[in-house]
Symmetry: C4
């Protein structure tokens, strides 16, 4: 199956900006992008399913199964200072290295059709214990973007603090170059126990992002929202961890030494 | 090779229901579906082989090799209250995450040709020690199915008890949605030592399923049947465990430190 | 790249029998088939290279690199009691489960073009310590073959002794069925420390095989031959083991805790 | 995505020689080829990106992301004793066995278009502690090349010292044969702690290579150059090691035993 996009609607968008927020450190990207989509009442128009996600369905509170997927939402600009948006959120990233490249190229090929030229990826940056004054650290696909975005209070002294940006947040920028897209990664500093969502860090990221986008959203419900999501996010993580552990460890060893001989 | 279907016969079926029972917890699904196919004298019409099964053949009692495969059976309705059935049983599920998606999409593409619109997947639900009063717990691909099937004594308070449904039983429901198929997963509660087949749980699942299908089968031979199968099922599991252990651990380390230098 | 056959010559063969002997337990198959090809002065006509072999080249005694591969040889019948032969030998089998299926289907597709209908696979059967009176144990793709080959002193009480036949020796029989080929696996009993080639077991297998094929070869040089091969075979095994160990274990952990933060 | 070449320019080259230097033991190949390309002011004309590289981008000193890639450079002969050159350098080799074959075949297919018939691969040879008098050891794709290159002071008593040549340096020679290319691997002896670049070994390799190519370069800046590179090379290695460790070990185990049941 590899990776597939299921299109539910074909929106007409004008020069849209693409925003990505998938699970990762502190779930900062996932929370920020999800909250933004919800506050804007953005509309879902496509889904990604992939054989690089875990091979299971989730159950959450009801008896209906939930398939792991990523989801595209769109939002249309309300005034001339704003731009149309495509927002990508989701339950999971690839569980194997190769899948990351495949899924991200699928995304880039798809958004290219809508004329996307600018990308914002949202992620968390684990900074150990120093929790006072969380900042947004920025990485760019092109050095000239620094000038353009420095005024929004983003810390661009990035090379000294950041080694790599893994998965979608990094590769969308790196691979985006081959699709004529310029990108900025907004990294919200977080204490970084990766399972625990960090609303503070998400709020800081959202403040910078909405300023750039000329959008006003109410961040006061963010913490409450996260409370609701936390259970579900934790469930996915627990199940993934358990499933990966099962894949790596032979389940039950044969107890009695059976009289079976092995041939090769 | 990936995954391939070998068709032995092309049955003409009318609006058939698809039933899946592959190996898993307590082998509940495998036993239930296998016993149903046998009691109904359902006829095999296709096989699935896949490079996502273990790369070996089995020997069992005779000197003839047994290739790991999944098998499709069909059964034609005997009266107007019944429906034609396609039953899938087999020796194995995918041994890697990606293979699950590939095999399940191969199955969905194939059964779509016969006009399948409804799916029942059968599986076990490990419930630790509380063995009194085993129930059938249900998961659905669509919340409206709950109303339809509640009367059959299925426990649909599923979200509280079930985290994920892994492999075919879950993904057939999740992916089936993209093929316009609605599905119910019938989970037989079992004490859940995954190697040991649980006839009690299979019987409970079969009772619910046959009531839904308006079919009468004699479940009295179930325990005897399982006794016969147990050996074979155990052999597959043992071999898989051993093979996986061998894949994960380098077989024999070089004893003497040889004078060979490594280059990269 | 997957798996590829490089054809050096297109021999015209009449109803040929296919014989496989690749590395495995005691290298019994590899030694038997290799010695047979050499004694018959069989001619190489094709090579298989595959991305499922280890990604390295070997050096052995000279400074010329040796690419891991499998090799096809042919031999033409000398009299009416004999049959043309295709013999497959090689340095390696697939290092991952999926690759086995791919390589074996590549082989089956290729030999089908020469009209192959009968297969003999050669392998070792590890029997622990009981070394007196090594036998050849047989497995078949079709129960009716037992009758035909019982007279050659093959032990067909196989199910009791053999759990699985892994890799090429097993899958050529299992998958061969889908290519209208019937097959017998000749398993030479061996004490089974898989790195150490077992000439005794190879000799017993060769005696049964040549009787079936109506061929006379001199097995007196077998032990000397193996002495020569041993070094090379050991080198491959050592390198594979080392390489697999390297793949499974991160090479060098960063010593000083560097000030690099991880982002996802 | 697999593996892709992005061509920036289509140089016209006459009978070019191909030189490869990718990361490996002591980074000897990477350093030698990189320094050569820089000293010759060779021009970049193509890039390779691959889903077999790590799925992350790097940050180094600036806030701009760096995508893992391999890079092709060309240089045109300045006089009749010289030959046009294609030089391949890069950040990474494949992280999985299969990827090596895929990437190397992509390279061979690409350079074949420029008429390449001769290959030099550069690598390090770990020789433990004996550091006095580092030599260049040679491996060849064809025994007759030994005669041609022996005069350049290469030690061709290779089989006794070298077990395998892993990755690009080895497979370009082995697979090159199927593309009608002849190749020599120049192995610089090094003490071989693979993370630490070895300028001494690179210098010895460069001296032999430039003599063969009739090129004069100033090796005096080599050590300084390596000092500059060291940080970046170390960063890649550290990140790869960390990432691989993360892939192999489930990140955080669920602490409290949650009331979630597992189904299969």
């Amino acid at each position: 199956m590899a990776t597939r996009i299921i299109e539910l609607e074909k929106p007409r968008l004008k020069n849209p900006i693409f925003i990505e927020g998938l699970p990762g450190i502190g779930n900062v990207g996932r929370i920020s992008a999800g909250y933004l989509a919800e506050q804007l009442k953005a509309k879902k128009f496509a889904e990604i399913i992939s054989s690089h996600f875990m091979p299971f369905v989730l159950l959450h509170q009801s008896s209906a199964v939930h398939m792991l997927k990523n989801e595209f939402y769109y939002w249309k600009a309300q005034n001339k200072k704003q731009r149309d948006l495509i927002i990508l959120i989701g339950d999971s990233q690839s569980i194997d290295p190769e899948g990351h490249y495949e899924i991200i190229e699928t995304i880039l090929n798809y958004i290219k059709k809508f004329g996307v030229k600018e990308i914002f990826t949202l992620a968390g940056l684990s900074v150990g214990e120093q929790t006072t004054g969380l900042k947004v650290v920025g990485a760019v696909s092109d050095p000239e973007l620094v000038k353009k975005y420095q005024k929004y209070g983003i810390d661009f002294n990035t090379g000294a603090k950041v080694g790599t940006i893994a998965g979608a947040a990094g590769l969308l920028l790196g691979l985006g170059r081959y699709y004529d897209m310029k990108g900025v990664c907004l990294l919200g500093e977080t204490v970084g126990f990766s399972v625990i969502p960090d609303p503070k860090s998400a709020e800081v990221v959202l403040k910078v992002l909405t300023k750039i986008l000329n959008i006003k959203i109410d961040t006061s419900k963010l913490e409450k929202k996260i409370k609701e999501m936390e259970d579900f996010i934790k469930k996915i993580k627990t199940m993934e961890t358990r499933a990966i552990a099962q894949l790596l460890r032979p389940k039950e060893m044969p107890k009695e030494k059976e009289k079976l001989t092995y041939i090769g």
